[in-house]
Every structure is written in C-alpha cells, then in structure tokens.
Amino acid sequence: MDWISPRALNRLGMLNMNRRNVDYIARYNERSSYPLVDNKLKTKLVVAEYEVKTPRLLQVVRQQHEISHFREMAEDLQGFAIKPAKGSGGKGITVITGRDGEEYVKASGARVNTAYLELHLSNILAGLYSLAGTPDVAIVESLVESAPSLARYSFQGVPDIRIIVFRGYPVMAMLRLATTASDGKANLHQGAVGVGLDIGSGRSLNAVQFNRPITLHPDTGLALGSIVIDAWPQMLEMAARCYEATGLGYMGVDLVIDHREGPLLLELNARPGLAIQMANGRGLLPRLHTIEKLKRPHFTPTERAHYAMTTFASV
C-alpha cells in the first residue's frame, strides 16, 4: 500500500472532498440555484440569455404518450443524443451517431432498434437516472461533432473540457478523453483520460487515467503532451459567463468544441469532482485562496477570464 502524507497534500494545496463540501459548495452555492444546474433543460434556457451556446434542442419528451412522436421526429436524423434532464455524471445519456437501415448505431458501434430507445425514454421519464429518483424529462439534442483536431485523441466519444469556475473566475481546466475502458464516456472514474490544461494558454500539462499519470492515449496511442485547445480565451470567457447566468460560486463547466458551431456548453455541475487536480498535477486551494483574497473582484466575464489567464498561467 502506498500512501501520501496529509502534510504533503497540504503543501500541494490539494482540495479534498470534505473541504470542498463545507468550505466551497455549501458556502458559495445557493441551494436555490441547484435546480438550474441539475436540470439540463433549465440550464440550456437560462445560459442562452447570456450568449452561451448549447447543442441544438430537437425535442423534449415530457409525457409517456409523447414517446410516439419521437419516432417521427427521429425519422430523418442521422445523429442525436438523448439525455435525462436531471441526470448526473453522464448517467442515462445515449448517443446515436448514425443509422443502419431501421436500426440506430450507438457511439460504441452497437446497433439498437427503436423499441430500445423508447424504453430508454420511458425509463428517463420515470426518473431512473434523476438525482432523487423523481420523475424526469428527456431531451433530445443535435449531435455534437467534435473538431477533428481534438476528436482524434478521443476513442469514440466526444472529448469535452471541464473548467472549474470559482466566483466567476476560471481557475482550473482539463480535457477529458474517452477510452475503451470508459465505454465512450468522458467520466474519469470510469476510465476516461484526464488531461490537465494550462489556464494561461490552453496547452496540455500532463495526463492521468485511473489516477495514474500516463503520456500516451491507451487506445489511440497519440502523445498527450502537446495538445493545444483553439479559441481558448473564448472558452474561458464562456465559462466565466455561466457565473452570471446561475449565480453559483463554485461549479464545473463542461464545454465541447463543435467543428461547425465552435465551443458549446454541455452541462454545468454544482459539485465538480476533485480529479481535475490530479490531471493538472497541482492543487486547487492556492488558486481558490487567491480569488477569495481579491479585494475588488472584476465585473465582466472578459476581465475575469483575462485575470485568470495571467494569474494562473503555468509558464
């Protein structure tokens, strides 16, 4: 068994679960803002007013009987994603990337029929994936097609970028790449690769899978050391803008880069995980303290993104 001493963790400024819950989430996140981020449909609508783009909404299934309309709507579509509005951690998300006759092709390559998707919608409505098991709404979104420069790093799934935004300042970011182990999902605990990104430049720092440092993507074999995210300042500003939209002081903003539409907001998270620190190889606490100590916070998202880029840059 290998352990790290609490003192070493303190030196690194590693934020832990208990402190995140007590000192940041409980203190900076209003309970009343939670439904906004816990419900993807509400998130979509509210951030739209703040000029934050999200994948196009194709259909909202609210009632059991509306499921039959789904078939008609999906008739002509090549790809789409079905999501539970209140799902968390990517649960219940089904991504269809193509058609094979009457059957649909999932991101993993598996073929499913309409009945499967209808049952899936019915499960979502019953609240199978929602946080508290309450009845839910299913949303069907247009498929995000990742920019090829990034997509090649990811195995099957769309790579996304998680940015921790504290009081409107983007403080830490990572790129999440799907792997075989993660079954095309971008969840680190399922085996996705996390690549730390330099806030100053959008360049990759180092990468982890299952909490262990790696240098090559396990499936694509590509080196992870020299990834650069295009339109980086624009993405940071988008993330910063979500603070105004939701009022959440501490949150995770998940963005994707669509090859046509540019950066899109996938979802917000009021309880972002701690693995981002391992992907970056540094702790969150020093940066959070820097923001907490600011005497005069910046008012506009642009200023905050700029401040973060100069203050938290690694090089």
């Binding site: 790290i4 690194l12 590693m14 007590v22 009945a115 499960n123 909490n211």
Partner: protein, 505 residues
C-alpha cells in the same frame, strides 16, 4: 476565511456534549444506574419470625420494624401470615407491623420479610424536637453510688459522647469499684446505663441490632446504647464503648419502647434469619428510582412493548454515527446514505451470520430475477413493484426452506425491510449495467462493511445498556456527528487516492 464565525457552533457542540455527559453522571450518582451491564449489588434479605401461642380469642401482634437504619436503605417489605390481617403502622418515631385475627388458637407463626441495601449515605432523620431526659429516682445507697460514678465520669470528659464512653468504661468488670458493684446486676446493666445517663442530663435509649451474616438462622438481636448529643442519635456498644454502627450491623429497633407486643397470646418470641443476595445493580436502581420521584425520567415507566421499540430506536444514532465516521473520516463508499444503518438494524434482529447469509442470498436471487424483468421492457415503477413482490416471495421461500431444514434463522429474513431490498436490487443492477460489476462490488462491499461495523457497535451489550438507560448520551452522539460535519481534513481514502500527487510534491 470569510463567512460566519463558527464560534457559536463550537460552543453549542461543547454545550451539547457537556450537557449529555453531566446529565448521565448526575443520573448515575442520583439514581444509582450503573455504567456497566453486569454490575451486581449485595442485598440482605432479613426475615423476622414471630412465634406465640394464641389463646382462643382475638389476637393482635405488633412488631417493631426498622424505620431508617443507618447504613442501609429498605428496598422492599412484605409479610406472610395466613389468615391474618396485616398492615404497617407509622406512628411518630416508630414503625410497627401489625397482624390481627378474630379467632386464633394454638401455636402461631408470623413472618415479616424485608430487603436491605447497604447504602453508606443513608442516615436516620434528625429529630425535629430535642428528646427529653427522664428523671430516675434512686434509693440510698444506690443514689450515692450513682452520683459518685457520674461525678467521676464527668470529671474525665467534656462532651456527651466522651461522658458516655467514660461511664461505660467505669462500669466494666475490670475497672469496677465498690460503688459500681453495688449497682450492677448482669441483667439490668443496660437499663442502669440508660438511667444513669438520663440522670446526668443526657437523653439515652436502647436499640437492638442484628448482626448480618449470610445464611444465619435464629439470630438474636444485640442490645446497643444510643445517646442524643444535641444534634443526632449516636450509637455505642454498651460493652466496649465503641462508638458508631459496626459494619453489617442492622439496627432493627431504635427509639421504640418494645420490640414485640402480643395481645391475646403468650410465650411470644422473635427470631431472625437472613440471606445475602446479589441483585443486578440496574434492577436495584429501577426499584429504588420508582419510588424516589426521579423515576419518571426513565424509559422503564413505559409499557414493555414501547420499551422494546425504544431499545431499537435508541440504537439508531450509534449506527448513524458509525456511517458518518466511515463516510466522512474514512471515506468508504456505500450505496445509499443510510442503507447500511437499515441493514445493520436488520442484522441486530437476525444476528450477524444468518442475517448476512439471508441478505446476500435475497439480493443475489433478486438480481437474477431483475435480469429477467429488464428483458420484459417494463416501466420503472411497475418493475420495482414487481420486484418487491418477488422479494417477499424469495424471503417467504427462504423461510420455509430454512424451517424445513431445521434452521430457525430462515424466519429472521422477514426483518429486512422489503422496499429497501427491492430498491437495493434495482440500484445494484443499474449500477451493474452502467458502471460495471466492479462498482457494484465496491459499493456493495462498502455498504456491507459499514453495516457490519454499525451492527457490531449496536449489538454490543454495553451500547444497548448505555443508550437505553442514559438516553441523554445521545446529545453527545449528536455533538460528535455535528463536529464531524465540520471536518474539512483529508479522508483516509483520499490519502490513497491522491498518492500519485507525490510526483509533483
């Protein structure tokens, strides 16, 4: 650090914990509720037997019984006497047991039993009014002898106590002078002593003590001398002048003129037999507190049914404490926040191994059946409802099979809450589909591990004893749980999880 000050919070937690502990200590001292379960206390069972010959007519027998013997408290009293009316009469300064019967003839035997608990703090009530002295008239030449002995004793003493001691010493055979030999005949020694002390202005009386010895029968009372020193009655051994009540001496009669009066009978006599018993300290505390007025604070006042329910309920905070500790400080992942507590409660009812086997087999069979259900493409609600019914079938089946095979434990499966099991199966199977078998194993074993820890804590006899008899200790548990809610340090599991960060240190 911004935000509200946490000082009031810590003060409140401190108050909760001190209030809990001090209440418990106070109740321990005041009511004698023991800290440990198995504590035993000695109790003396003393039986007075009254024998007399009744003479064909109404009979009234009256026996002096102890009121408040120093060093003991009375736990229970009862009389056994077939055909007799019985009552305890409290008259000023003495208590008497009275038996009465209209027609009685021949030898009669009456019994009076009492239980005494050694209690060093028990003292007789201080008389409200100063007892008077009785003037004794002495004839010459005794009067001169008395005067001289008293003068001698007074010269060598300063207080009523020392006066008494000196007087007793002067009256002993080896120090006797001519004066005393003149006065003393063996049978009137104690009366003479009382008379002389009264004559000297010191209130004095006789008392009867009983030497407590285990399993003694036909024990006789021993005479003792008591004097009043202005505040309280002091006891002296009339032979040795030793002051105070010796250990294991029960003063049966104090301050009353006669031990036994029998009207309508003769040849009466009293004899005593005694037995040392040990009684669980808890039972003793309950018997005593029931009469002391503080008893209403205890759960023992509730009907038995409610008591057993509270016994269970009061264990829950311990389980919650264990879950909070395991999740916040150790960092063990469980499925559902308090499912481990519910599983542990079920284990308490079934005991661990049968409970574990039952739980695992029900969940395993349930998971198999859930696999079939999911292939039916049912709606979620009806799937879970169906699962609940299946779980009931499974438990019923296991109970019957267990019973046929001769295991009684099959029945105990029913203690598991059906809905919880059904929901567990549902969650586990979804977890299986979405995150893989590994996550099911991690969360499943985490839940079971925490449940077993909680069970071990809750099933400890001491835990059951303390939570039920000192419910105020739950304030301490509450304080600890609140404190844990403020713990912002690293979990034990995080020290493992963040190990790769060593590279960057």
């Amino acid at each position: 650090m911004t935000g509200r000050s946490r000082l009031p919070f810590y003060v409140a937690v401190f108050l909760l914990i001190t209030a809990g502990i001090s209440l418990a200590v106070w109740r321990h001292i005041e009511l004698g509720i023991p800290w440990l379960t198995g504590e035993q206390r000695p109790v003396w069972m003393v039986e007075a037997r009254v024998d007399f010959d009744a003479g064909n007519g109404p009979v009234l027998a009256s026996l002096n019984i102890p009121q408040q013997p120093p060093g003991f408290s009375i736990l229970s009293e009862q009389a056994a006497s077939p055909g007799y009316g019985f009552s305890i009469i409290d008259s000023s300064g003495s208590r008497r047991a009275e038996w009465s019967k209209r027609e009685a003839s021949g030898p009669q035997t009456l019994y009076f039993k009492a239980q005494f608990v050694p209690d060093p703090t028990a003292q007789p009530a201080i008389p409200g009014r100063k007892p008077g002295t009785r003037r004794v008239f002495w004839e010459e030449p005794e009067a001169t002898a008395v005067r001289e002995i008293l003068a001698q004793a007074r010269a060598r003493s300063s207080t009523p106590e020392s006066m008494t001691r000196e007087l007793i010493r002067l009256m002993q055979p080896d120090t006797r002078t001519q004066n005393t030999t003149l006065l003393i005949a063996e049978e009137n020694y104690l009366d003479l002593l009382v008379g002389m002390l009264n004559h000297a202005g010191i209130a004095a009386r006789t008392a009867d003590g009983l030497q407590l010895e285990d399993a003694r029968r036909r024990q006789q009372l021993m005479p003792f001398l008591q004097i009043f020193n202005g505040r309280e009655w002091l006891t002296f051994n009339p032979k040795t002048a030793e002051q105070g009540v010796p250990e294991n001496l029960l003063l049966w009669r104090q301050g009353s003129s006669s031990l036994l009066d029998v009207i309508g009978g003769d040849n009466s006599e009293v004899s005593f037999s005694m037995l040392r018993q040990t009684v669980p300290a808890l039972q003793l505390a309950n018997m005593q507190s029931a009469s002391s007025g503080l008893g209403f604070l205890s759960f023992y006042e509730l009907p038995i049914e409610e008591q057993s329910m509270f016994r269970m309920l009061l264990l829950l905070p311990l389980g919650a404490l264990m879950v909070a500790f395991m999740r916040i400080v150790i960092g063990i992942r469980t499925s559902g926040t308090f499912m481990p507590v519910l599983i542990a409660v079920a284990f308490v009812q079934t005991t661990l191994v049968p409970g574990l086997i039952a739980f695992l087999s029900v969940v395993a069979i349930g998971l198999l059946m859930r696999g079939y259900l999911s292939s039916l493409n049912l709606l979620l609600v009806s799937r879970i409802s169906a699962l609940i019914i299946l779980v009931i079938f499974i438990t019923a089946g296991l109970s019957i099979i267990g019973y046929q095979m001769g295991f009684n434990t099959g029945m105990t499966v029913t203690f598991f809450p059906m809905v919880i099991i059904a929901w567990t199966i549902e969650r586990m199977s979804i977890l299986w589909e979405e995150e893989g078998a590994r996550e099911v194993v991690v969360q499943g074993t985490g839940s079971l591990f925490v449940a077993i820890c909680a069970y071990l804590l809750m099933s400890a006899p001491l835990a059951g004893h303390l939570t039920f008899n000192f419910p105020e200790l739950h304030l301490v548990i509450l304080g600890l749980i609140l404190l844990m809610g403020q713990y912002t340090g690293y979990k034990l599991s995080e020290l493992k999880r963040f190990t790769p960060m060593k590279v960057y240190d």
